[in-house]
Structures are given as structure tokens and as C-alpha cells.
């Protein structure tokens, strides 16, 4: 009798084991099958949406143009970005207008031209190039921040919704107005204050990382020969302005805030003459730091998650990351993107502060946690599809590290670029 019971238990265990294995194999086979056999093709990509807050004429469109120009090829980075073809045509047209020293500056963005530019961030994976994440950048006319919409127009409402949904905010500070303010010009200071008021209203309640970008940085070259000293001088001016100081006090303690000087045309391209900015006939188009604002988005989001987690949430995320290591890479890749919508994911999001972590951010954050805990996945033991997935995950991590590297370089060169509560003393 005991022999029969033991045999029955063993058989039952075997049956359960076989069922579990069958389910897992089916799931993995389904992931591998994907579309036309590429399991990665159907894996959702984390998407981060960026809104640049800046008044009309502050340089948003030029920044976007130069930023894309800089990032569209890998250069010395391990990634590059790609826009949809019709947007690429438009970006190239703007670039030609800007870089042509015999032509005028591009005309401003009209309300009807408001739209999002969506960039794939690509990296090399084996012998192919694949997108590993997406960045959205809203292009709109700056007057939407200060002027009433005409009756019947929805542009302003769409902008406000975009601000609410943004994963990162970039405040655009017009370098020309800063220069005027530094030289005591009332008009310049008034416009600068209006710009800060418009963006601070949205940023005070923001729960995402915030970076301020000083455009037209080349127009401030004569403030001081040393760039970091120059940046510190400008920061002092800004901290003396109503609203900005309060914003840094409120937000600086709990999120990453930056002050990034950029020139979309370079230091030897334009001159200020009689209050107007003219292109030099022999100007050299050589933008500087234009890639940093976008590069900082993802690392700053991940850093903010770190800052927002309490011990319980951190342990829960680590446990989940450990659990995911027991899956195959392909299965983990597919299920990670839906994790935030599942019960366990919602619990984690709630523990970590609710809406401040979007699904995309959680995806990359879990990804990073797995890096810290896997201790080296045994790559050789994986089958071909799982190897693809593992390589994809590793490639995505490398891109995030490249982003972080770019930000680290800026901080090393310009320590004054980091805004924080230390500025208040």
C-alpha cells in the first residue's frame, strides 16, 4: 500500500511538472515565434515624452534642429536617433535655413504646426541596427504659453495635456534675454521674468525631472572667458529672480534639476548687432551641448525613481527583478512592458509614489535592477531566441549608460550645471 501511494505521488508530481513545462515552452515558443519568427519585433519599446517650455523666439525649434542633427549619426556614441521620414525632411529643411549664412533665420512655428517629433533611439545589435527606446519631443509655438487661444482652437488644451503627460520637462531660457538682464536692460529682464513665470507655473507641480536649457549661449561669451564661471554668474542671476528660486527650493530636494547651456549654431556663427542677431557671412556652424538635454532625460528619470523609493518599495522591486531572472530573457522582455499594468506592478508603482513612474520608466528601472542582481546570466545556456532577447536587453542598457556618460561629462566640465538646494545658501 505505501508503495502504491508513493508511486501515485511521484506520478502526480511528474504530471504537474510536465504541465508546467508544457505551459512554459508554449509561452516561450509564442514569444520566439513573434511575427515572422522575430520575437523582438513585437516587444514594446519604452517611450519617453519630452516637452520643452519656452516662449516664442527662445530657440526651441533651433534646438530641436541642431539636437537631431547631432544625434542622427552614432559619432563616438553607441546610439543614434532616427525620425520618421516626413519629419526628417522638415528637420533637414530647417537645418539648411539655419546653416545658410546668406539666408535669414527660420520663421517661427505657427499654431497649426504644433506636433510631436518622435525619435527612435537605435543601437547596433549583432549585424543590424534596432530601436531600443523612443523619445517624443513636442514642437509648438511659444505664444501658447502666454496668449489666449482663439475661440474654437484646441492647441492650448493639447499643450496643457501634453505637459501633464510629459515624462520630462525642459525649460528654455533665452540667452539673449539673460544677456540683457545681466546688462540691466529692463525689457530683457521683463521678458525673462515672463518666460520663467510661464514655465514655473507648470513646473511647480511637475513630478518628472526638470532641466533648464540656456539657449543662444554663444551670445553670453563675453560675460567671462571661463564657461563654468559664466554659467555660475548666470545661475546667480536666475536664482535672484522671483519664482525660479522657489522652484529650485521646492523641486530641487526631490528631483534632478539641471542648467544646461547650449548653442544651436556655435560660438562663431552669429553676432549681436543693434539688438538684432545676425549670421556672420563666414560663420562656422558648430553647435555645442545640444545633445545633452535629450541625453539627460532617461538617466534623470531613473535617478528620480531611485530618489522616490522607500525601503519597502526598493526591496519589492529587487524581489521582482530576481523573479524575472528566472524567466528566459525573451519572456522577461515581453512581460516587463506589461508588468506595470499588472497587480504586482501597480503595488510597486503605488509604493514608489504613484504616477511619477510611468510604465516606460519602470521598464528601464527594472532592467537596471536586473543588471545589478543577475551576476552574469549564463549566456551560453540560452537558445537562439533568448540570446537575441538578452543581447537586446544588454544593448538597451548600454544606450542608457551612454546617456548617463554624456551627462557625467557635462557635470565634470560644468559643475554649475547641477541645480539643487545647495544654491539656496
Amino acid at each position: 500500500m505505501p508503495g502504491i501511494v508513493a508511486t501515485a505521488v511521484v506520478v502526480a508530481n511528474l504530471v504537474v511538472l510536465l504541465i508546467v513545462m508544457r505551459i512554459r515552452r508554449r509561452r516561450r515558443a509564442r514569444f520566439r515565434a513573434g511575427e515572422n519568427g522575430d520575437g523582438l519585433a513585437s516587444a514594446p519599446l519604452p517611450t519617453f515624452r519630452v516637452v520643452a517650455l519656452g516662449l516664442q523666439g527662445s530657440g526651441k525649434t533651433l534646438l530641436l534642429t541642431s539636437m537631431y542633427r547631432r544625434l542622427q549619426t552614432p559619432g563616438d556614441r553607441g546610439f543614434h536617433v532616427r525620425a520618421p521620414y516626413e519629419q526628417l525632411i522638415e528637420l533637414n529643411r530647417w537645418y539648411q535655413e539655419v546653416a545658410d549664412t546668406t539666408g535669414d533665420w527660420p520663421q517661427g512655428t505657427s499654431r497649426g504646426e504644433m506636433r510631436e517629433f518622435e525619435f527612435d533611439v537605435l543601437t547596433t545589435l549583432g549585424d543590424t541596427t534596432r530601436p531600443v527606446l523612443k523619445l517624443g519631443y513636442l514642437e509648438y509655438p511659444g505664444e501658447l504659453l502666454t496668449d489666449q487661444d482663439a475661440p474654437g482652437s484646441t492647441a492650448q488644451a493639447r499643450l496643457l495635456t501634453a505637459l501633464t503627460d510629459a515624462d520630462a520637462l525642459i525649460g528654455i531660457i533665452d540667452g539673449l534675454r539673460l544677456r540683457q538682464a545681466c546688462h540691466g536692460e529692463v525689457r530683457g529682464r521683463l521678458i525673462l521674468q515672463a518666460a520663467l513665470d510661464a514655465m514655473i507655473h507648470s513646473m511647480l507641480s511637475a513630478r518628472c525631472p526638470i532641466a533648464f536649457v540656456i539657449t543662444k549661449w554663444d551670445l553670453l561669451d563675453d560675460l567671462h572667458p571661463d564657461e563654468n564661471t559664466r554659467l555660475a554668474m548666470v545661475r546667480t542671476v536666475l536664482m535672484g529672480m522671483d519664482g525660479f528660486r522657489d522652484l529650485v527650493r521646492v523641486q530641487g530636494a526631490r528631483r534632478v534639476m539641471r542648467l544646461i547651456p547650449v548653442t544651436a549654431v556655435g560660438h562663431d556663427f552669429a553676432v549681436l548687432d543693434g539688438g538684432e542677431v545676425h549670421k556672420k557671412p563666414d560663420g562656422r556652424f558648430h553647435p555645442s551641448n545640444v545633445d545633452v538635454p535629450l541625453s539627460a532625460v532617461v538617466p534623470d528619470i531613473l535617478r528620480q525613481i531611485e530618489l522616490s523609493l522607500d525601503r519597502t518599495a526598493r526591496e519589492a522591486i529587487l524581489a521582482e527583478a530576481q523573479r524575472r531572472l528566472r524567466m528566459g530573457p525573451l519572456e522577461a522582455l515581453h512581460t516587463l512592458s506589461t508588468f506595470a499594468a499588472q497587480k504586482a506592478g501597480k503595488v510597486l508603482l503605488a509604493a514608489a509614489g504613484g504616477a511619477i513612474i510611468a510604465d516606460s520608466a519602470l521598464t528601464l528601472f527594472m532592467d537596471a535592477q536586473a543588471t545589478a542582481t543577475d551576476g552574469g546570466r549564463r549566456f551560453a545556456e540560452l537558445d537562439a531566441a533568448d540570446r537575441q532577447a538578452e543581447e537586446f536587453i544588454q544593448a538597451r542598457r548600454r544606450v542608457v549608460q551612454e546617456f548617463q556618460h554624456r551627462v557625467t561629462l557635462l557635470e565634470a566640465a560644468l559643475p554649475s550645471s547641477r541645480l539643487g538646494t545647495g544654491d539656496l545658501t
Partner: protein, 306 residues
Amino acid sequence: MTASGWPFLIARGRRRGYTVLLAPGWLIAAQGHGVLEETVTPVAGQPWRVAVAGTTQGRRVGLAWAEHPVTGADVTGTPDSGGGAPVRDEHSRPLRLLYGFLCADAMIGDPSGDDLARSRDAALDTYRRFLTDEEHFTIEGSTPFDITSSLTRQPGHSGRAVGSATSAASPFASTPGSTWTSRWVLPAVGTLAVVLVGVGAIWIASSGDTPDPPCTPASTTAGPPAPAAPLGTTATQGTAGPSGTTALPGTTGPPATTGPSRTSAPAPSAPPGTAASAPAATTGAAGAAPPIQTAQENQAGLPPCP
């Protein structure tokens, strides 16, 4: 029988941003002139553009417009003074006018040069008044004139405004001209995808285990991983045409686009009825562009206005 056109003007000043400065009085009274701001975009190197839009009252209007770079002579109002030098705003950008005329309940085919010139004259008069006091300027109502442009009759009411074509809940949506895509094609594609996925799931579930591919011999080295299976063969799966955007489920919804407003003609395959709810825009080549017709009109077979 002649039709009337109402001049309109959208422009920015030396200090103020883009805004509607001149519009038909009845459109202003109906609080619907915002539709001009959202529909009228730069002509991008073309001599003119035309579009159809719907007002907040559901009335359809035909629009034709062109661009005019502002010169010193435009500002003074006398050709002999001020010269042809461009006038710039306080950000050193050249000023331009987006001017044109509007026809109620009609679609403009080929806008005539005379009609555009009359609209520009009216726009310049308004613009000069605007420049003298930008901060306190209020929108002006335009006076209609008899147009000579070719028109196509339109159904009187669309029942839907262009102003609301791009939902406030979708801030990252593309330009209004692409909304027919999100209204009809995407749901249809989505439904088809759901059906296909369902069929696929049933097939997979009933097909038993898919045999694993043969295992690659385990590497004992600690070097870089062996090359993965080629990905390029399926890298374009889920891409959306020439845009190169990857249409992956659960990411960002419809791929962003600058929309048909940049294209030369409305999509010929637009499903029936879409024209009533979406603006169609086309860029013109001087004297060569065919009259614009939406899919709905083609099907209705409406004759052109006399």
C-alpha cells in the same frame, strides 16, 4: 452667379506671436475663428494652399491662402518708402503674413491670383493697424468680395469642427489633416489585428508544442556572446511605411506625422464619409494644381459651382 470670399490674416508682430488678425465677421461672432489658426500653416515653398475646414457650428468652409514676407514698404503702406528689406521681430526672425480668403459651404479648387491679391491688400491694411499697437489690437472682421476662383459645392454642414478634430486628450496627435486615419483606418486595423491575434492564439494553443530550435553548443569562453540569429530579416516588421517609425503595440499609438497637410493631395483611398470630418489640404503649383476634391465629393459626384 458669383460667390463671395472673405479675406483672413494670421500673422505675428514684432512682439506678439501668431494670432488671427482678420477673419469673417460671422465667424468671429460665432466664436469659431480658431479654426483658421489650426488649419492655416506655412505653404512650405508652394505658391498657395487650399483646405476644407469645419467651424464649431458644423459649417464647412473652403480656405485658400498664401504667404507674404513683410517688407518695409508693407509697413509704411507706400511702395516708395521703406524699401523691400525684410522686417523682423524682436527675436531677429523675418515676419510673414499667412493671408487668404474663405468661402462658406464651398471648396476652393484653383485660387485665382486676383482673389489672393485682393485678400493680401485687405490683410496688409489690417496688419499695418496691428503693428501700430500690437498689445491692444483686437481681431477685425473682413469685408467679402466677389471671387473669380473655381469652386466646388459642399454639403452645408459637417456636423463636426476641425477645431476639435485633434482631441485635447491626444496632445501628441499629428496635424488635423491626419485625423481620418485615427478615426477609421486605425480602428479597422486594430479590429483586424485583434481577430488575427485571436485566430493565432487558438492555432498556437491547438498546435501543441513548437519544437525548440537545436541548441547552440554551449560556449565555454567568457568572451563576447556568439552572434545572434539574424534580425534584419524581420526588422521591418511593424514599421509604418516610409516613415520608418516602428508601429509596436503598446507604445505610442499612431505614428506621429506632419500629416497630409504637407502632401500634395488628399489620400485617394479615404473611406467614404471621412472627408466630412477631416480637413483636406493641398499645396499648389501655380496654375497647375487640379481642383481639390475630397473622397466624399468624388463619390457624391457633385457638379462644380457655376
